[in-house]
């Protein structure tokens, strides 16, 4: 069974506004590292946010880990969200907090209000955080403030935070587009390595087609809210790319 399956997904931000997603269907299998490519404004960010309902879909069916996402009440939704690790384009760290506290904040879905008030996380969370910080190569920066780090380092904090959730699916929203090409490649390689090790499937928005081809086993092409391509990376032809990015020529 697929980890995630999306059927006829439609989104409008306002009742009379334009339709951002116009009936999208796709599945993510348990061993997928799936790239979502497409020009800016195609709806990639909106789509990825529908999966954990940071954006509310207007119509369609989303089944994640066997649960009907759109039917969940707010408590169950929070329970689902903590199974979904998310990594963001601009890292979305809490700048005034330390690297450690940022990483630990990935556990908030499992932490009571009283504990979170005093930032009193259980020992096993702290040891897990140290482990992940080591894996992403930030052992020397644990007690620094998040805004003291470089872009690549901040994204590594974002990765460690997402891993803290012990996710069953990773959502990556343009994880490398705020980074330079060399760091981008390193960060993508790191995410892919860890995802493989932990056996977690990933859905990755990315506009760098080269990176997508290099790292992902499957590609979905999105254009103006419509799916234009869905297949193995090896089957992606130049003509498909031209089709997906046709509108950007203007």
């Amino acid at each position: 069974m697929s980890v995630l399956s999306v059927r006829n997904l439609r989104v409008r931000y306002t009742a009379k506004g334009p339709e951002i997603l116009k009936g999208i269907d796709f599945d993510v299998e348990s061993d997928d590292f799936l790239a979502m490519i497409g020009p800016s404004g195609a709806g990639k960010s909106t789509l990825i946010r529908c999966v954990n309902r940071l954006v509310e879909p207007t119509d369609g069916q989303i089944t994640l880990l066997g649960q009907d996402v759109r039917a969940l009440n707010s408590r169950d939704l929070r329970g689902l969200r903590r199974n979904v690790g998310m990594i963001f384009q601009e890292f979305n760290l809490i700048n005034r907090m330390s690297v450690m506290d940022n990483v630990l904040s990935g556990r908030l879905g499992y932490t009571s209000n009283i504990r979170s008030l005093f930032r009193h996380f259980p020992k096993e969370d702290i040891s897990r955080a140290l482990d992940y910080l080591d894996r992403v190569g930030l052992s020397d920066h644990i007690n620094k403030r998040a805004d003291e780090l470089s872009g690549g380092q901040r994204q590594r904090v974002g990765i460690a935070r997402a891993l803290m959730q012990q996710p069953k699916l990773l959502l990556l929203d343009e994880p490398t587009s705020a980074l330079d090409p060399k760091i981008s490649r390193e960060v993508m390689a790191l995410i892919m390595k860890i995802a493989k090790e932990l056996g977690v499937p990933a859905l990755c928005n990315i506009h760098d087609v080269q990176l997508a081809k290099e790292f992902c086993n499957r590609i979905i092409g999105l254009q103006d809210g419509v799916k234009k391509f869905d297949g193995d990376t090896t089957t992606l032809r130049d003509s498909d790319l031209e089709d997906i990015y046709a509108m950007e020529v203007l």
Partner: protein, 274 residues
């Protein structure tokens, strides 16, 4: 258009005419302003002062001169009210902060639980707190809970809410939404979103505002005693009533000292925060 066009006599007379109009307008505005100022002075000072009671220049100087003595004997009596004034300001500010939190929460457009009812309520409370003078708040609380420092503390707390909650609400409205989204994505609840996503972003601003408000509250608590709400003001009032002008000066000196002290402390606190 060429240079010769501008320099023709037509252009010149047009310019002169334009400038004269401007000057006339300016003259008119100044004239109206002076007329208005004169009317105000006449109404409030000339017609409203009891000139016979002032009794000449020497009388005024003599009255003011009475204050140029210092009653050092009052010193031991000053210590407790000075401390009380300081504490009234401090406790009032802290209490005001607690009141401000819910008001700011209601009155910040991006986090308010209900935009239709609670948001306007929050905004109204902010205006209410500021539009009522601290002395009026004190009068209300003196009649509610009696004389002493407590009504002063309550008055200062109420008066502080307006400014602190308004600045806090504005800080909340200006936060970066990205960390908030991240905390929400980890499965955090509303409390955790506020505590981790919002609070770290606003607290430098809020803390600086609270320190500033505390500084002002020292001044406010110094006059609370005038209406029976404790502190140095009460002593001031008593000296005034017993015509002990040296004592009045002594109290004023104590207030001055306290305010300078508050100024110095808040200067260093602000530095530590920012």
């Amino acid at each position: 258009m060429s240079v010769t066009d501008i320099n023709t006599s037509d252009g010149l007379s047009l310019q002169t005419e334009l400038r004269r109009k401007k000057q006339m307008k300016q003259l008119l505005i100044w004239g109206l302003f002076l007329l208005f100022a004169g009317w105000c002075v006449h109404g409030t000072i000339i017609a409203d002062t009891d000139w016979s009671r002032i009794g000449g220049r020497n009388g005024v100087l003599a009255s003011v001169g009475r204050y140029i003595t210092i009653d050092w004997g009052l010193l031991p009596e000053l210590i407790i009210p000075t401390i009380e004034t300081f504490m009234m300001a401090s406790v009032g500010t802290v209490l005001g902060c607690f009141f401000s939190l819910p008001v700011a929460w209601l009155g910040a457009a991006n986090v308010t639980p209900s935009k239709a009812i609670l948001y306007p309520l929050g905004r109204f409370l902010m205006v209410l707190s500021r539009s009522v003078h601290e002395i009026v708040w004190a009068l209300i609380f003196v009649s509610a809970v009696g004389l002493g420092a407590l009504p002063g503390i309550l008055a200062i707390a109420m008066r502080s809410v307006g400014f602190i909650s308004k600045i806090t609400a504005e800080a909340i409205e200006n936060i970066d939404a990205k960390p908030v989204e991240a905390i929400r994505a980890t499965g955090g609840n509303e409390f955790q979103v506020m505590y981790y996503g919002i609070l770290p972003q606003i607290y430098p601003v809020v803390l600086a505002t609270v320190i500033f408000e505390w500084d002002i509250n020292i001044r406010r608590s110094a006059v609370m005693g005038l209406v029976g709400a404790g502190g140095l003001g009460l002593l001031f009032f008593r000296q005034m009533n017993s015509f002990n002008y040296g004592g009045v000066t002594m109290v004023i000196l104590a207030i001055l000292l306290l305010i300078v002290l508050g100024e110095v402390i808040s200067h260093y606190l602000r530095k530590a925060v920012i």
